[in-house]
Structures are given as structure tokens and as C-alpha cells.
């Protein structure tokens, strides 16, 4: 009769032999992968440019012309795809669109083509432009490229994610809510309101007040000639004044950042905060409140 110690020793040796053989024979679909039985599916407009995942592609394109009638504003909502809005002397709104679809299978592609379309909504003197998309957007990407030519007096409200924007020659209010894209704003003679994150902004030739809240965004404002009020977080600002530095009132403040200028600004420092305040009666005010922000005035 074997002692218990010997039985356990034999069991340990047999198990070691088993493990040695098993570890050599085991395949990828056994072991841990089989145990946890985890399935991870990922959907989203990922790396649109490479397009290696979704090889089935198609596009729907066209042109819509809409009479101006009583319209006073234009509202555009778009995710993925560039948006150009150009103000012109005209009485109608012309929209050139191209909707690109990429799908993982041919079946998904064909089903999706029937479900996407440009959608125009007219209500309360406002024309809404957006893309109708299927609710389930698993294993596909949809991007809409828009070029809108509209009367320059129309106010513009744009909500955009994940691509570039260009707006030019608008003589009314422009409101932008954007993230993840490069934005160029040219010759806007109405007030400008911006809320943005993770973007790059180039703003040129704005003639009325600019109000903005930016985070993780680099901003270049050229030829500033009006009031400016910005709230900045992790965002750097390069500001080019249209007139000399004496034509402005200043209320500048940044925490964990710097204020740089070739002008003789008398900065005050309080711990990590740097301020510059100077008031000139009747002059436009530049008010900037920043955190982790470098402000450079040229």
C-alpha cells in the first residue's frame, strides 16, 4: 500500500508531465480564450482615411436648390465630412452634397444606401440641413460632404463633429459648435459665437464681437477689429491686431500659461496666474480668461 505522501508525489509528477504535453499541444482557440469567451465588437467612424476595415463603398450625391422665401437662418448639423458655407448675393440656397458610405459587407452597404439621404427641414423661418442615417450604424461609416451657397444675410448655425469647416462672406450672426476638425472663418460681418474643442481655428476679417469657449484648440485670429471675449482651456491663442495696441482695452488673464507680446504690457503675476488689465474709454475690449493657455498678441 502506497503512503499518502507517495501518492501525492506521483500525482504531482503526472500533472507536470500532463502540463508539459498539454502546453505543447494547446492551440489558440483553447485555454484562456475558450475560458473567457469574450467577444468585443467595435463600431464608430474610425480612421476614415485608411478605410482598410470597410472595403465595400458607395456614395450618394446630388444638388438641392431651395427658395429663400421667408428664411432668416440656416442650421446645419453634420458629423464626419467637410462643410463649406459660402455667402453670396443670391435669392436661393444651393446645396451640393456627397454622402460616402463604407460598410463591412455588401449587404450592409446596399441596405444603408437606401436609408441615407439629405434631409431639409423648414420651420420658423429656418432651414435645417442634416443627413438621415440608419439608427443602427454598426460596422459602417457614413460621411457627408456639404457645400452650401446661401444669401449672405442669412444667419448660420453650424453643429459639426469630426471634420473641417469653412465659412465665408456671411453678413449675419454665425453660431458654431464644433469639435475635432480644422475651421476657417473668413469675412463674417455679423457677431460670431463659437464653442469648440479639439480643433484648430483660423479666423480672419471678423467685424463684430467674437465670443468663444475653446478647449484643446489652437486659435489664430487675424485682423481683429472688434470686441473679443474668449474662455480658453488648454488652448493657445495667436492674436493679430488690425490696429496698434493703443486702440484697445484689455482684460487678460491666464492660469498656468503665459502672455506674450512685443508691446510694453505691464503684466502682474499672482502665483501661477498672470494678468494684464488696461481700460481705454470707448475702445473695443479684449477679454480673455485662460487656463493652461498661452496668449500671444502680435
Amino acid at each position: 500500500m502506497l503512503s499518502r505522501k507517495r501518492v501525492i508525489t506521483i500525482i504531482i509528477i503526472l500533472l507536470l508531465v500532463f502540463v508539459y504535453i498539454d502546453a505543447r499541444l494547446i492551440t489558440d482557440d483553447q485555454g484562456m480564450a475558450g475560458l473567457f469567451n469574450v467577444d468585443v465588437s467595435y463600431s464608430g467612424n474610425v480612421d476614415w482615411s485608411s478605410g482598410e476595415d470597410y472595403q465595400y463603398r458607395s456614395e450618394v450625391s446630388g444638388e438641392e436648390t431651395y427658395d429663400r422665401d421667408d428664411l432668416t437662418s440656416l442650421r446645419v448639423a453634420n458629423s464626419f465630412g467637410e462643410v463649406d458655407i459660402i455667402g453670396e448675393s443670391r435669392d436661393d440656397i444651393r446645396i451640393d452634397y456627397r454622402i460616402e458610405i463604407k460598410a463591412a459587407t455588401e449587404e450592409i452597404l446596399e441596405r444603408t444606401i437606401d436609408q441615407v439621404a439629405l434631409e431639409l427641414n423648414h420651420s420658423n423661418q429656418e432651414l435645417g440641413v442634416l443627413t438621415a442615417k440608419p439608427d443602427n450604424r454598426d460596422r459602417m461609416n457614413i460621411a457627408t460632404y456639404l457645400t452650401i451657397r446661401a444669401p449672405e444675410e442669412l444667419a448660420v448655425e453650424l453643429n459639426s463633429r469630426f471634420d473641417d469647416i469653412r465659412i465665408e462672406n456671411i453678413a449675419s450672426q454665425v453660431v458654431i459648435d464644433s469639435s475635432y476638425g480644422d475651421v476657417e472663418l473668413l469675412n463674417i460681418t455679423g457677431p460670431l459665437e463659437i464653442e469648440s474643442s479639439f480643433s484648430n481655428y483660423e479666423i480672419n476679417g471678423i467685424q463684430e464681437m467674437i465670443t468663444g469657449r475653446f478647449s484643446y484648440t489652437d486659435i489664430v485670429i487675424d485682423q481683429l477689429s472688434s470686441d473679443l471675449e474668449l474662455d480658453l482651456q488648454f488652448s493657445d491663442l495667436d492674436l493679430y491686431l488690425a490696429n496698434g495696441p493703443d486702440a484697445w482695452s484689455y482684460d487678460l488673464s491666464t492660469n498656468f500659461g503665459a502672455i506674450n507680446s512685443r508691446y510694453d504690457f505691464q503684466l502682474t503675476e499672482d502665483g501661477t496666474r498672470i494678468d494684464y488689465y488696461y481700460s481705454r474709454e470707448g475702445q473695443p475690449l479684449i477679454r480673455i480668461d485662460g487656463r493652461f493657455t498661452d496668449i500671444t498678441i502680435h
Partner: protein
């Protein structure tokens, strides 16, 4: 009654080590809390998780020490003379260790939360990914569940390695290491085979969605509930195996 007496005794015995770990965790997190600045907050957010890497080592040590201490203190006579089955003794010891582990996780979780919230308030968003509230709950739940399972396995593997090594008079460290390795390998292989048997069970789906980089994403993680069942069965096997070893094989 003997079960609760044993549970309380274990709490007392491992209490000092748990107290030291608690104080070290508190001191470390307090140090981090007072050192958050704009230049190091990302480093602080990373460092704050360090105690969670120490706790498994504590649990591993407790798993090994819980029985080796009985022999060293010569209290194994008393333990074996208790009118209780082996698995109830194993359970009582395990519950005491699990109590401290849960307390440590709650404590370290709370102080971690305080540090992260202070960083958020002072320095704004610190994560490159903007997740929905449900996604954060799902991530915390999945991480915590995985962390608890991991600690359970470490504890029982160390315990069974210690018990088997007690069969021998010499080369106990070598036996401990070999049995620890074998129990890890074999338990996961057995759990894999058991999972195959139960793969008709429904999957548990967790959705994580948000915005990260330039992407709006949704990730669906489906974990078969058979995985949890098979892991539970393996842990039950550990408890019964260790109980039988203690009750039938080991001599005082």
C-alpha cells in the same frame, strides 16, 4: 459557533498586516493629494493606482501564511481537533481575508476617487476619452469583477500550494512553487473545458461608448456567463480540495 470563532481569530491574526497596509495606502494617497500640481497631475493620476498592485501580493501572502502559521505556532492541533469539516475551516479563513480585501478596496477606491475628482476640478478634463456615465459604471464593474477573481485565484492557489507542501518534510519551498504553478495552469484549463460544457448559457453584454481622439465609438463587450460559472466551480473545487487535504491527508 466554531466557524465564527475561527473567523474572528483569523481577523485578529491578519489584522496587523491589514492595518499596516491601510496606513501605508492612506499615507501614500495623502502624499499624492497634497502634491497635485499642473505639471504632475497626469503622473499623480497614474500613481494613484499603485496600491491596487500591492493588494494581490498581500492576498497571496495571506493565502500562504494562513496555514503555515498554524504549524509554526503549533495551533494546527487545535484546528484539526475542531468538530468542523475541512471546507468550513477553509471558508472561515477565506472570509476573513476577503473581509480585509474588500475594506482595502473600498478605502483605496474612495481616496482614489477624491484625488481624481480634485484633479478634475482643478485642472479640467484629464482623460483623452470622453465616456458616457453608464460606460464608466460598466468599466468600473468589469475591472472590479476581474480584480476580485484574480485575487481569489491567487489566494486559493497559494493556500493549496502551502497545504500540499506540508505533506513533505523537506524541499517545501520547491513543492510550494511547483504546486502553485500547477494549480494555476490546471485550474484555468479545467475552467476552459467546463466553460465549453456551459456555452449554451447567455452572454452578458456591456456597452462602452464615448468620444476618443477623433472618433465617436461604441464597444460592446460580451462575456459568456459560462465563464463565471466555470470559474466559480473551479474555486469551489479549490475549497473542497483544500478541505479534504486538511481533513484526510495532513498529519499534525
Amino acid at each position: 459557533m466554531a466557524f465564527f470563532s475561527l473567523y474572528k481569530k483569523e481577523l485578529r491574526e491578519s489584522g496587523f498586516a491589514a492595518l499596516i497596509l491601510t496606513l501605508l495606502t492612506l499615507a501614500f494617497h495623502f502624499f499624492l493629494y497634497t502634491r497635485i500640481t499642473a505639471h504632475n497631475y497626469q503622473f499623480i493620476i497614474g500613481s494613484v493606482l499603485a496600491p491596487f498592485f500591492i493588494f494581490p501580493i498581500y492576498f497571496l501572502a495571506i493565502g500562504y501564511r494562513t496555514f503555515s502559521q498554524e504549524w509554526n505556532d503549533r495551533t494546527i492541533y487545535l484546528l484539526k481537533s475542531l468538530p468542523r469539516r475541512g471546507y468550513t475551516i477553509i471558508l472561515a479563513k477565506f472570509l476573513a481575508a476577503a473581509t480585509y480585501l474588500l475594506l482595502l478596496i473600498i478605502l483605496a477606491g474612495t481616496t482614489t476617487w477624491q484625488i481624481v475628482m480634485r484633479t478634475l476640478v482643478d485642472f479640467g478634463p484629464v482623460m483623452p476619452v470622453d465616456l458616457t456615465g453608464t460606460s464608466i459604471i460598466n468599466i468600473v464593474f468589469l475591472t472590479l469583477a476581474g480584480y476580485l477573481w484574480f485575487n481569489l485565484f491567487l489566494y486559493f492557489m497559494a493556500q493549496i500550494a502551502c497545504l500540499v507542501s506540508r505533506v513533505y518534510d523537506r524541499f517545501r519551498w520547491l513543492i510550494t512553487i511547483i504546486v502553485f504553478y500547477l494549480s494555476a495552469y490546471i485550474s484555468l484549463r479545467i475552467a476552459g473545458v467546463l466553460a465549453e460544457l456551459f456555452n449554451w448559457m447567455p452572454g452578458l453584454t456591456f456597452q462602452i461608448s464615448g468620444i476618443g481622439g477623433a472618433e465617436e465609438f461604441t464597444t460592446l463587450i460580451t462575456i459568456g456567463s459560462n465563464s463565471f460559472l466555470s470559474l466559480t466551480l473551479v474555486i469551489l473545487g479549490f475549497i473542497i480540495g483544500a478541505g479534504l487535504l486538511l481533513e484526510k491527508v495532513l498529519e499534525v
